[in-house]
Symmetry: none
Subunit: 420 residues, 2 copies
């Protein structure tokens, strides 16, 4: 069974928006054992939509469509879908009530546009949208293709990523699995921090070369993190799992110091769990990362249980006033130094009244580097109830990536300390 | 004249790589006035490549292909191209010399794989690759399409982004311009904050309905921001520009309070520029946004010129100790209140010794809401050298989006004050 994806939107064709929907859908579907054989991206025009629907339906048994619906875009896509499936728009009471409820919760008035959104093709199963106003639409149609039995499935979804994602996860993928029973597939993603892709590849080269033929390895590098995804396939789910897990165990023996978790683990969540277990509190004192560590930590729901706050001391005056850094220390060693970052950690521990502190000071770039301290130079200190220690790192020359890498490195340093 | 893009690579279909090549090519071509009517993304298989080449050639006069060539991928794509164009691979001395030279500069040895890369289809114009080893290939072929005169152009490029980009800029776009003299096109994107897509559409409905036929409007919503893109086309560049600019002016009259900028403007950059002009400093005091505003501000290179720091007072004790909030104020009004957020702003102004402060306190969710103060309730205060004012907002029920929306709202409040 082949799946094909159609993304509708002029903004995609003129490059104003990068098509992350296609890659997200492709990834989720392949993780579930489905094969995606084509993405087709077209503009909001009737002719192209009709052409793409026909061609995709001829090639594939399932066609997933995103984009082209929403309060201001409805007209072309929905009427084109009606023509393609030989149906018409009718008012859908349930869809309208959903929008009314969503808007009531948010304290908004329902507009005429929203009312129009409740008009849906008569001949489709409509899919609820818990996080937006445009419903999904599940159609089935006879496409005359030699050798194909049964109808071809077409599902239309909104193009807003989180709306499409919720619909895929809650409705579409489960329904496709029920109908098509893809091969057993098992993924395990091992997360590493603190080592680049090519160095990692060198260390695990022999292990990689000896992987069983039914297991594929993919390197998925991100700034600061390299994910190693093992994908096993086979007829028997338990056997596939066991084989992958065995290889993962070997990996833990090879690179224990770089692995921090698996699958959807996030350092900020892992650190939070450890702090909760220890009934300890955390604060941060950030310079070069400018609040990014605080942002990561507070993006975790429930983080107020252990995270008390931060002093973002971007300016040296703030370092002195709010963290009690001695002007002489700044003068003698510079803001990016073991001495200053250590004083920052101790100052924050005292002022924020917390058990643990992450303190960080570095040169994010692109300016501010020197021969002695080039862009990317970063000092990280961790204060614990028992000690303070600091370590120097040299990241790269991109501001964004330096901020991200420094934050992840700091969180992992704290995680290791909390575990020890 | 229509252009179509084909991207080849299994890694795109399984979502391992986001297809930035397509959006980059689409953007560059549309900026030059060309119309791109489809992207097709397929895997490295002969059948799909042949199918995509035929279909694209039938729909469009120019087909640009990226991916599927390079040291480890060459075989399938190049031999498939040879079959499609009825030609064969021959050794290309010039191509081989280029690779030898490039490798000599980098101090690498030429491998057998690189030697194979110098075999190119006999019947194509090969395009030099100054930054890599795989040459581009320009083919022309008769595709029988009613009404089309002349041959259809197919250009194959490597998938490595910077190699493809250099080839597009140096060779392909200039050649296409010489041959096709595209229409003049002009894009202007107006950025709004603080209003949802459907409400905005209601206000500007009449304006939208009266747009000249040569101007198209697209709504591009993101959490907290709705972008309105106007695209004008015509024969005369100056006239097209003038017509779009006139419509943009009308929009500024209609929704002045929601527009904050155009095209690639970012609120954190605009605020920074205004602060620099005024030679004023900024600090933040964040609770619910947990450092996200600080992160946005410090993501701007050079922000240390005006941004001094932040107190992330996630815990009430930190609000009292570091910002001087009175325990009675917290007790009587609660942390999410006009009174507390105002005291936070004043406290931060004093402690951080800054001219302006953004202070924010809210319930990001998913927990912590009450009937009186549901999730999404957020107070934002702005302290200026002359005054402090606070405003209440009710955002939605998603933690991530609440943080984002609150931060953008706060930055825009400050921007408006700096302008007034």
């Amino acid at each position: 069974m082949n799946i094909e994806i159609i993304n509708i939107g002029d903004e995609l064709l003129i490059g104003q928006v990068v098509n992350t929907n296609a890659s997200w859908m492709g990834e989720q579907l392949s993780l579930e054992g489905f094969t995606v054989n084509q993405f087709t991206i077209i503009g909001d025009t009737r002719e192209h939509i009709l052409n793409a629907l026909w061609k995709a339906g001829e090639r594939s048994e399932v066609v997933l469509i995103s984009g082209g619906i929403g309060p201001t875009k409805d007209d072309i896509t929905k009427t084109t879908l009606c023509d393609f499936f030989g149906t018409r728009l009718v008012f859908n009471e349930e869809a309208f009530n959903d929008v009314e409820e969503l808007f009531a919760r948010r304290g908004y008035q329902v507009t005429e546009l929203n009312q129009q959104q409740a008009y849906l093709p008569e001949d489709c199963i409509s899919i609820p949208n818990k996080v937006g106003t445009a419903r999904g639409m599940w159609f089935e149609k006879d496409i005359p293709v030699p050798g194909r039995s049964g109808k071809t499935i077409f599902v239309s979804m909104p193009g807003v990523p989180f709306e499409m994602q919720a619909m895929m996860k809650d409705h579409i993928i489960p329904e496709l699995k029920t109908r098509f029973h893809p091969k057993s597939i098992y993924h395990k993603t091992i997360l590493t921090q603190g080592i680049g892709e090519s160095f990692l590849a060198k260390i695990i080269e022999e292990w990689e070369n000896n992987l069983p033929a039914t297991i594929r390895l993919a390197y998925l590098p991100q700034p600061g993190i390299v994910r190693l995804r093992l994908t096993g396939t086979g007829e028997d789910e338990t056997a596939v799992r066991a084989l992958v897990d065995k290889e993962v165990e070997k990996l833990y023996v090879l690179i224990p110091e770089y692995i921090f978790g698996a699958d959807d683990d996030r350092l900020e969540v892992l650190v939070g769990k450890l702090l909760k277990e220890k009934k300890c509190t955390l604060g941060t004192a950030e310079s070069c990362t400018g609040g990014y560590i605080a942002h990561l930590l507070t993006s975790v729901s429930g983080s107020s249980a252990y995270y008390k706050g931060s002093i973002i001391a971007y300016d040296n005056e703030v370092k002195e006033q709010m963290l009690g850094i001695m002007p002489e220390t700044l003068e003698e060693f510079g803001a990016v130094s073991s001495e200053v970052v250590t004083e920052m950690a101790i100052g924050a521990q005292h002022h924020l009244n917390v058990d643990y502190v992450i303190a960080i000071s570095g040169i994010a770039g692109p300016d501010g580097g020197s021969e002695e301290k080039p862009v990317g130079t970063t000092w990280i200190a961790i204060a614990t109830p028992d000690e303070v220690f600091a370590k120097q790192f040299l990241f790269g020359d991109s501001r964004d990536r330096n901020i991200r890498r420094a934050a992840l490195q700091a969180l992992n340093m704290l995680r290791k300390n909390l575990l020890s």
